[in-house]
Symmetry: D2
Subunit: 415 residues, 4 copies
Amino acid sequence: MATVFSNAEGHGSVNKNDFAKRPPMGWNSYDYYDTTVNEEQVKANADFMAKNLKQAGYEYVVIDIEWYAPNAASDRENYQYIPFERNEIDEYGRFQPAPNRFPSSVGPNGERLGFKPLSDYIHNLGLKFGIHIMRGIPRAAVHEHMPIKGTGYTANQIAYPSPVCPWNPDMYGISATKPGALEYYKSIIDMYAEWGVDFIKCDDICNIKGENPYGSRGEIELLHRAIVESGREIVLSLSPGPALIEEAWHLERNANMWRITDDLWDVWDLLKDMFRRCEIWQKHVGGGNWPDCDMLPFGMLCKGHGCEHKSNLTPDERLTMYTLWCIFRSPLMIGGELTLLDQDELALLQDETLNGLNMYGGQPEQLFNDGKIVIWTNVNTKTKVRYIAVFNISEDEQDFHGVKIRPHACVLTEA
Amino acid sequence: MATVFSNAEGHGSVNKNDFAKRPPMGWNSYDYYDTTVNEEQVKANADFMAKNLKQAGYEYVVIDIEWYAPNAASDRENYQYIPFERNEIDEYGRFQPAPNRFPSSVGPNGERLGFKPLSDYIHNLGLKFGIHIMRGIPRAAVHEHMPIKGTGYTANQIAYPSPVCPWNPDMYGISATKPGALEYYKSIIDMYAEWGVDFIKCDDICNIKGENPYGSRGEIELLHRAIVESGREIVLSLSPGPALIEEAWHLERNANMWRITDDLWDVWDLLKDMFRRCEIWQKHVGGGNWPDCDMLPFGMLCKGHGCEHKSNLTPDERLTMYTLWCIFRSPLMIGGELTLLDQDELALLQDETLNGLNMYGGQPEQLFNDGKIVIWTNVNTKTKVRYIAVFNISEDEQDFHGVKIRPHACVLTEA
Amino acid sequence: MATVFSNAEGHGSVNKNDFAKRPPMGWNSYDYYDTTVNEEQVKANADFMAKNLKQAGYEYVVIDIEWYAPNAASDRENYQYIPFERNEIDEYGRFQPAPNRFPSSVGPNGERLGFKPLSDYIHNLGLKFGIHIMRGIPRAAVHEHMPIKGTGYTANQIAYPSPVCPWNPDMYGISATKPGALEYYKSIIDMYAEWGVDFIKCDDICNIKGENPYGSRGEIELLHRAIVESGREIVLSLSPGPALIEEAWHLERNANMWRITDDLWDVWDLLKDMFRRCEIWQKHVGGGNWPDCDMLPFGMLCKGHGCEHKSNLTPDERLTMYTLWCIFRSPLMIGGELTLLDQDELALLQDETLNGLNMYGGQPEQLFNDGKIVIWTNVNTKTKVRYIAVFNISEDEQDFHGVKIRPHACVLTEA
Amino acid sequence: MATVFSNAEGHGSVNKNDFAKRPPMGWNSYDYYDTTVNEEQVKANADFMAKNLKQAGYEYVVIDIEWYAPNAASDRENYQYIPFERNEIDEYGRFQPAPNRFPSSVGPNGERLGFKPLSDYIHNLGLKFGIHIMRGIPRAAVHEHMPIKGTGYTANQIAYPSPVCPWNPDMYGISATKPGALEYYKSIIDMYAEWGVDFIKCDDICNIKGENPYGSRGEIELLHRAIVESGREIVLSLSPGPALIEEAWHLERNANMWRITDDLWDVWDLLKDMFRRCEIWQKHVGGGNWPDCDMLPFGMLCKGHGCEHKSNLTPDERLTMYTLWCIFRSPLMIGGELTLLDQDELALLQDETLNGLNMYGGQPEQLFNDGKIVIWTNVNTKTKVRYIAVFNISEDEQDFHGVKIRPHACVLTEA
């Protein structure tokens, strides 16, 4: 009866719940670089991480969206993502790194090397390498009827024409049940595995923002299966949020992390909103499953977006964020440029108590929430110390059993 | 720091997770009697249960809606619930059994005895006694400014005027934070405890069918607290559904069972729909928490509704229903009139394998669902036998690994 | 075949399209007094109108909500409308003026005179008298099963228990097809006619803010019919908005004015929003039908609401509002306390050009709207002068064919 | 000040309200042929119309969707519209008739003649010629960056990547404010004018079925302007419905007809639903503006859809439909294959009374509607005869003032 267990674990050579025993920690290029990051910048952040954050538990270096676009951000006034562009693509409809941004992706004879050289560089630092991808198949491949590698199918046979991603113009979705669909996903995952990718952040897949927000269910299963069958331990991270709680059971079978919020930025209201989201997801944390509160917008942000600035979070808000992320055990992905972090920010990211709670925590639990005071607890299973965090999410100072807590601030104590 | 744990267990004399170690099993008057059941009929069903179903695990005898309405169903052509009626109520705004329907509720000198005599009768059979209540406080009490027992408050001070329940006209909701609100809920729960009530099905509370379907959150907490502080082990069952999965964590703190569907009837489409609902709730079953698939519409139904008929479920569908309810570990509440069950129906309700799975099951898990074949598994933790149920929810016969399964039918096997 | 024309005009003694040949102009107590206005205050405003605004076309003096509530506003911290109060009501379930606020409503022997004495006073000034009512029948009358005048029916037989008005707790809706429903509406309208009422602002009827916002369709027809059959020319004004444009044809058959917006206040965003609403309704103006942009929040406001203040509209915004209302031909109901108007405000309300356009205008037409500049035209049919109003609804000064227009300002020219 | 009147009439050489003084009458290929109609079939229907229906007022012969698709319907099992196909297109991104289906569209030397020869044929019969188009610009043109005729712009510069039409995969929408957008619309309309097109049914434009259903407002204005400036009197018909009543004023400025329903078929429930739609639109009929109840599904239908059948409408329902369409003054577009009409159908389409009412009617008015009996009236302004149509839309015979009316039937009388 084994064949019926097709949604379950165990039929391949790797098991997703072995990839991420603790919440993934790392850096992601998006919050500072938007679509513009290049090889030199990635390396600089990797170097910084190896030196300053690796010991604290940070390990993933992730290149975010449109690394295949040579002209990315060249018309930022009109578009974040220029539509109908001629992006870097191979003969099987698979995006490749843009050589002008990632010179190591082209060999001395012009041969495509993908991200392998950059991945090697990062691995040599003792770190792991991740990339962002968009769900589906490039529109260009579809209109040109490109072949799917190793098959007799062509791109137009597996793509569907509508709906399309509302915010990025690069892809068409794939009909998961069409012949050739799995083969296409395997063709890209196998290529990423060859490149040495350890982490994939797949976008436009967790909540696709239309009538049927979890309409990508079939593609999620294909991606998971392609990873399992690739034999490489690649963490699968799904975006954007908010993920649907009614699909928690399905997400837990197929991915390692999923965004429980839409894009988070350095704005108090978005941070405050996260308390509600963590409340909903509190019983779904652990064992390879990590509801994801999104990147930490600390330090310098938004150079690529054309509005470079220092994070608007106050020190109290920053601590509130890091404390919540750690006690809830969200993945920790730093969004700001690492080399520009100040000493306070760096010290927080190296905090042993909070990082320990994140890495070795048990089941997070919200004990109380009256809209002003919010209390969470968790235990460091290694030290056996239980912690209680009391947050003041109101606009006024609160007196909590004699302890005064500033607005937007928090207090962490041992229980 | 103990006072902050006001949502958590432990501050009273009883703990809700001790009340219902296994999914509650019993009979409910609604599916056959609607609003009309009387004392004699309740006793007849209790007698039947004691003789034929008690050994199989059934124990709760539950009187459903409007036991306080002397004229219930007297204008069934226009109303299921006649609005603005003069119902039986005491001086503290608490509904009482209608004496014309429940003669034992009035003593020899006209004194009110409530359901105590009927409860005694049922307890003497070795069974347990339950009642249905509506969330809130009677509108009549509110407009008459009745006092809340043991307080200086009056009913109009704790009620809110809108929204009102869209389907039943008897009550106003209670503002949970108003002084007097907890006291009112304690005044009714304490009375029910004195009556010997073991099970409360509270209606218009789990999904209140408006802009804010979980707007009764505060009243759920008051009810739970009133039960805890009553010192009596009263199972709390919340209706109607569908319950909101994002509130699972809150339901698990405050109640024992909650409906995951709107009213279920003897209709295949509603039964089929339950597979989707069980899928969503599969990780939330056990330990005093029982997502509730609603009553089993077996046997004779709907006399009180004016359309008495034999259940429209075929034998295959009936088996499908009972198998799903048992492997998922839903509460099992028989809806049809017990004394009119036929031998096949009775035999199914006495099935030792299925009842054993329901009573001693572990974590239910859906293994597969392609919209035609659905597969669930669970283990009887007492016998250690694991079962797999394969359901055909399509309209055509399905060949499942050589086994032919009729439409709407299922096969249960040991794994 | 005449009997089939039951929705159409002509079966009674008065025709609604004769009541309001031009957009009604007057004063309404709500914006300043909320629920608190009393007889003395009404008279003072009427006196002021007779002296300063009558010549400009103003004539209606309208008492707004809860004139039947003796304790209105006595718990303003918790409620705008105190629920479950004992309001002034006669034996037929009809609200009466609260004697403590309207002393003339009680005769020397305690007999109820209603608003007749106050109405006489206003008529003697050459003005007209109006009142606000809530759709439906008092909840108190329903729970007490009060008789409907001149019939064998009781209030509970015509009321429905849900939904209820979400913002005011005084009434239940009436099932328009129940025997007794028309009779109840006739019983109140005939009473108002005896009182000398010339204008009824019926609330909770135009958009009832629920799943079926025009669910009061039947009650609108009953109200219209009751007015027609009363033989008195009573203008019927429906609130709140926004009215549904798909019901324009029905509103045009049954009422004289209907709110095309929710409550308007002295806030630019609400005023700006009105341009979009007027755009939608532009072809539905005239001949007894007056889409209503709501009261003019000029002068002193909100004393009754507990936040008395001078209107926040700047002189430019005030002129923009009055110009739009006049060129669109909205009813003109002054919201601020008349006796506290300053000279500029008064001068604007007396403006002959704008008032002439409002009173004698033709078909309003929006000529242009690019989100910054909006242009409307209309003609004074008496003088034959055509006007063009150019509004700047943006936040920046706009150069319009060489004319500079400040933000939130407008220019009116002859075409 | 003339330049501000950019939405208004008069700035071009033709005025839309002169194109269609009466509701357009004709035949459309869709209901029988779906995407498959060819030149021979069009001519056969034109011949039939000239001989049998021209005298009754019918004049337009309209070729519906995908006349540019050589392989249309070749994969009907999977797609109504095959996505990502290579359709017939010229060097400026303008679709051309598929030569295999419309041989006359290619000259002796392979030069493209478009529909000019077919249009000539139809004009020679004394009839008029129409085509269907999709809003926007072909996706193929966009991905290939094709030039816009007479400009330096390319297709990718005016298209937007999302949202896309949910039901047809051929086009991208055009950003109306982009330079080149008007030029593209002019380039196609001018080509159609050269072809001799008298009627354009533009699809995916009236209600685009997404978050912003009237999001094509700007493209509607461009289309209208392109027609005005083309100098040819081309009727503009907008699909699909339901049109938004709040945009009636805008539709009336820019188009001649707009669908007030989604696709209508030979199903009673859809026909019944039309009464509600006509009720809403009753005040918007006349003077070049024709709310459109959709095609008449009479006779043989759906050959191209793969389910050829005789219309399911009963004779009573067919008469009900034609009577409603005529008294309401909807455009009359026959959907079935003309050459296969039977004598009764043909006789109805030639009915002088009903056609006279449609062609020379005044303002339609619904007099009554209780959900069972619906009554409409209109006058033939030529004969001065007023008609009253009484429809029974219930499932039971109705006695209307002594006249018995069958279910789904109607009675037309002179008033």
